[in-house]
């Protein structure tokens, strides 16, 4: 069967790709577009390593088909820094040592950014439940939670 032609926007850039019907958005980002910052940890929507936004909404890209991206606007980790300036969340993750191995980090950053856009001043409990779909096996979440709350404070002040 012929592949599908998909025209979409990724991190603000218009892009096109061809994909099979069953290919996930995750596979399309990684294999068709070379955007390997989005990670695959489970492919069943349980770990959040593949978190991206579709028209601003946080999703697991392993649960979205590539064809569904047609006409949408996709946000990935590669679009988070602006020019040579890191997003405050990225900076705070480094400052707070909120990553060890770093495989879950892109997913946590994309998910945290999505939360702060809707809820600029989350409580620790709100944040922990929002991030409950992102697994980290290294940090015990402590430094991640501190980094996001600190970034939120800075972003509200700015």
């Amino acid at each position: 069967m012929a592949k599908h032609h998909v025209a979409t926007t990724v991190n603000g850039d218009a892009v096109e790709f061809l994909c099979e019907t069953q290919e996930t958005l995750l596979d399309c980002l990684r294999d068709q577009l070379g955007l390997t910052g989005t990670k695959e940890g489970c492919s069943t929507g349980d770990c959040g390593a593949c978190s991206v936004t579709v028209d601003g909404r946080l999703v697991c890209s392993c649960l979205v088909l590539g064809v569904e991206a047609n006409g949408k606007s996709i946000g990935t980790i590669e679009g988070m820094a602006k020019g040579d300036e890191l997003h405050p969340l990225q900076r705070k993750f480094i400052e707070h040592a909120a990553l060890q191995c770093g495989i879950c980090t892109p997913g946590f950053l994309v998910a945290s950014k999505a939360l702060l856009e809707k809820t600029p001043n989350p409580t620790e409990i709100e944040l922990r439940y929002w991030l409950a779909g992102n697994l980290c096996r290294c940090t015990g979440y402590d430094k991640i939670v501190r980094a996001v709350l600190d970034a939120a404070t800075e972003m509200r002040g700015a």
């Binding site: 069943t44 590669e78 890191l86 480094i94 040592a97 892109p106 991030l131 096996r137 940090t139």
Partner: protein, 766 residues
């Protein structure tokens, strides 16, 4: 959170501070390349056919139909790997038997667990590779299986290996069994010790296999050229180990195989062995193209090593004053399909936190029809120490003694002879207990349905073979190359130690993890050895570089080399010549390198000796839901001796991460098997690791009892943190409910059932 960990009057500029890690930006921007992130031109996709049976004889494999499928470029089975003789070869802290390794990567006579590789295919797409797997015909003779460790030890249990005779038993058994090995560690006379006891407590415990749960699945890209030069890109804790195993299994010279470690998305011991690597190489050799293989999460659960489940009996005798007069333990650890559970280290550290006269620990290494276990953070220790620390807590309650005081009374200290042999140097058991006693957490009142528990833990830590190179660049900046993969901030720690030695700014040093062609041999990142060993080698390389820089300046100044010294980042004339020449910074030395003898650098190749144990004491508060049996950890404090924390944030991170894994082990994680011998929860939905909403903040206290045998006092810190949590939480649950749990995990159905039973007897506190 402590601001800085420095000794009073410390002269350190970098050690003990919290700079940004050198690889931080790559990891927050998605640039960092992990195992599955490399694409090679023309690469094929490799997939593995796995046994659907937990135990079956393989009568035949027909791959002809798969080979004919358009797009299939290579198929391999056990026939593509030469059989290996049975011999145990030392490999770091473990022994390797390649007869088992070759059968582990690809089943030969029998499939020994559900998920055991049977064949592998390389094709032009994943879809074609999967289609090809369906075309492979395997003739199985299904055999009876055994999953439980106690069942596997019984006479008449289904035998995994017909030629397995228990080692370590005298006289040697005449019949084969599933017990691979018996180990024993004895100190003094336990029978005599128990006679002096005023109280003896004996309990039996069971724990379930738990998986390391790294978020990045195993992944490899391998390419073999027509002249046999092989390159491997792989997520691993040790690329020299991958090289050794692959060369051996494929019968190639080590020099033909170059291995590059990708960034590694968690390992915890689980990425210290090979699974896909030899298969990808064999496929690539046949196909003449690069082959990429990535495990699914389901494959990770079914076919990569969890740690052992176990059955443990502990018996401890004490006098009324709390002194332990005798301690005994019997450990039965599941190894999975091949010999090699961590029962030996489990036996060695069972009583290691204590200074005891009479100890006897016996351990059994038992094979079962499960995936072969792999190392998991302090392998073996958490299981035996969970049981011991639970009984110690029960004894404290029975003799009416504070559990910290009971531990202090019996604590191991410098000079203590451990049951497993050595006399300890300076160790921090007493210091962590005193820190616990002084911590506000220990005195804070508890709320309703809450309880508090405390437990200590021990892990050995290792050193081992290590190579590091440090080059002075032509502009005076530096290039540092280490060979132990950076799993959690290693680059930062090495960079800090080099900066400290050289008196330069950290950002003048670029640090990389070299491939196997760039450095001499490096043992893996494991045994909490990376910061210790590569740190020691970095310091030695820096000192060699400094010596060379001094030599060059001395040559220029026409002074004897003894007449110059290196201080504050510059070479200076010393002694009577002080002030005769302007100091030369590394930048200035670099500028004269060419005309004074060529490039300047240091290269350290060592067997890092002097690794020292790290001890911890943890305090856990839990709240038990009386209606559902759910246990919430509401407050947690991890106190541990780091020797010296090079980068305190990443030391704290190790403590916190180990605690989180321990909480999972204690409360929820387990491999669940059906009667059919098949794993029922091979995914993150049903094998649920702790998520952010399950955990509280995890407070940490870094105690520093410097290791005198490391230039900066470093002990390994990574593994000890997973040792105390299971007992600390079980002790807290006992404190909250009045019910002592001896089975992990303490999941809601089990807790509720135990609470109901205790309520019926009137012994429940909630």
């Amino acid at each position: 959170m402590q601001e800085k960990v420095k000794e009073p009057g410390s002269e350190f500029k970098w050690v003990g501070t919290r700079p940004d890690r050198p690889d931080g930006v790559d990891k927050v921007t998605g640039r960092a390349k992990f195992g599955a992130d490399l694409v090679m031109a023309g690469q094929l996709v490799g997939k593995v056919l796995r046994s659907p049976h937990p135990h079956a004889r393989i009568r035949g494999i027909d791959t002809s139909a798969a080979e004919k499928l358009p797009g299939v470029k290579a198929v391999v089975t056990a026939k593509d790997f030469k059989d290996q003789p049975s011999e145990f070869i030392p490999a770091g802290e473990m022994m390797i038997n390649y007869r088992d390794v070759v059968r582990s990567v690809m089943a030969r006579e029998k499939a020994l667990y559900e998920g055991h590789p049977i064949a592998a295919v390389a094709a032009t797409s994943a879809a074609i590779a999967k289609e090809a797997l369906k075309l492979i015909k395997v003739d199985y003779e299904v055999l009876p299986h055994v999953i439980d460790v106690v069942e596997a030890m019984k006479p008449g249990a289904p035998l995994l290996h017909e030629d397995m005779y228990t080692a370590g038993v005298d006289p040697a058994p005449k019949t084969p069994s599933n017990v691979a090995k018996r180990v024993e560690f004895v100190l003094g006379d336990v029978a005599a010790g128990f006679k002096q006891a005023d109280l003896v407590v004996e309990r039996e415990f069971t724990t379930k296999p738990v998986h390391q749960g790294y978020i990045e699945p195993h992944a490899v890209v391998a390419t073999v050229s027509e002249d046999g030069q092989a390159d491997v890109w792989v997520t691993t804790q040790g690329h020299w180990i991958v090289r050794a195993h692959c060369a051996r299994l494929l019968g190639w010279d080590v020099s033909k195989v170059r291995v590059t470690s990708s960034e590694i998305g968690g390992g915890f011991g689980g990425k210290t062995v090979v699974y896909l690597e030899p298969l990808a190489l064999a496929l690539s050799k046949k196909a003449g193209r690069p082959v990429k293989m990535v495990m699914t999460r389901e494959e990770v659960f079914r076919a990569s090593g969890p740690t052992s489940g176990a059955h443990v009996r502990v018996k401890i005798g004490v006098k009324k004053d709390g002194s332990i007069v005798a301690a005994e333990a019997e450990l039965k650890y599941q190894a999975g399909a091949f010999a090699g559970s961590p029962v030996q280290p489990g036996a060695m550290c069972a009583y290691a936190p204590y200074d005891l006269e009479n100890v006897k620990v016996v351990g059994y290494d038992v094979v079962t029809n499960r995936p072969k276990v792999a190392a998991y953070r302090a392998p073996g220790g958490p299981i035996s120490e969970y049981a011991v620390e639970s009984v110690i807590d029960e004894i404290a309650g029975k003799i009416g003694m504070d559990p910290i005081e009971l531990r202090l009374k019996n604590a191991a200290k410098q000079g203590t002879k451990a049951a497993y042999g050595p006399k300890f140097g300076p160790i921090g058991m007493i210091e962590t207990l005193e820190a616990a006693k002084a911590h506000a957490h220990w005195r804070t009142p508890l709320g309703k349905n809450q309880g508090r528990g405390i437990a200590s833990g021990f892990w050995f830590n290792i050193g081992g073979e290590t190579s590091v190179s440090l080059s002075l660049n032509e502009d005076g900046t530096l290039a540092l190359t280490a060979g132990t993969p950076d799993i959690g901030g290693l680059r930062a720690s090495l960079c800090m130690m080099a900066a400290e030695e050289l008196g330069v700014d950290m950002d003048k040093i670029r640090v990389q993890i070299g491939d196997t062609g760039q450095l001499g041999y490096n043992f893996l990142t494991g045994g909490s050895r990376a910061t210790f060993s590569s740190g020691m080698a970095t310091v030695e390389a820096a000192r060699e570089l400094v010596k060379e820089a001094c030599k060059r300046a001395a040559k220029l100044w026409e002074l004897p080399v003894e007449a110059v010294e290196y201080k504050d980042g510059a070479v200076r004339p010393a002694g009577p010549n002080a002030g005769k020449h302007n100091p030369m910074t590394l930048k200035e030395v670099a500028a004269i390198a060419g005309k004074t003898g060529g490039p300047i650098g240091g290269y350290s190749r060592i067997n890092a000796a002097g690794a020292a144990p790290s001890l911890a004491t943890h305090i856990a508060d839990v709240e038990v839901d009386p209606d559902t049996g759910r246990v919430w950890v509401v407050r947690y404090t991890a106190i541990q001796d780091a020797g010296r924390a090079i980068h305190p944030s990443y030391v704290e991170g190790q403590y916190q991460g180990g605690v989180a894994q321990g909480i999972g082990w204690a409360l929820n994680e387990e491999y669940i098997y059906g009667d059919d011998g098949k794993l029922q929860n091979a995914g993150f939905l049903d094998y649920r690791v702790p998520v952010a909403s399950d955990l509280p903040m995890i407070d940490t206290v870094i105690v520093e009892v410097p290791n005198p045998r490391h230039p900066y006092g470093v002990r390994g810190v990574g593994e000890t943190p997973i040792v105390p949590p299971m007992a600390a939480i079980a002790n807290a649950v006992a404190n909250a409910t009045g019910v002592r749990f001896t089975e992990l995990p303490m999941s809601p159905p089990k807790v509720l059932a135990a609470l109901d039973a205790a309520r019926a007897k009137g012994t429940a506190k909630i």
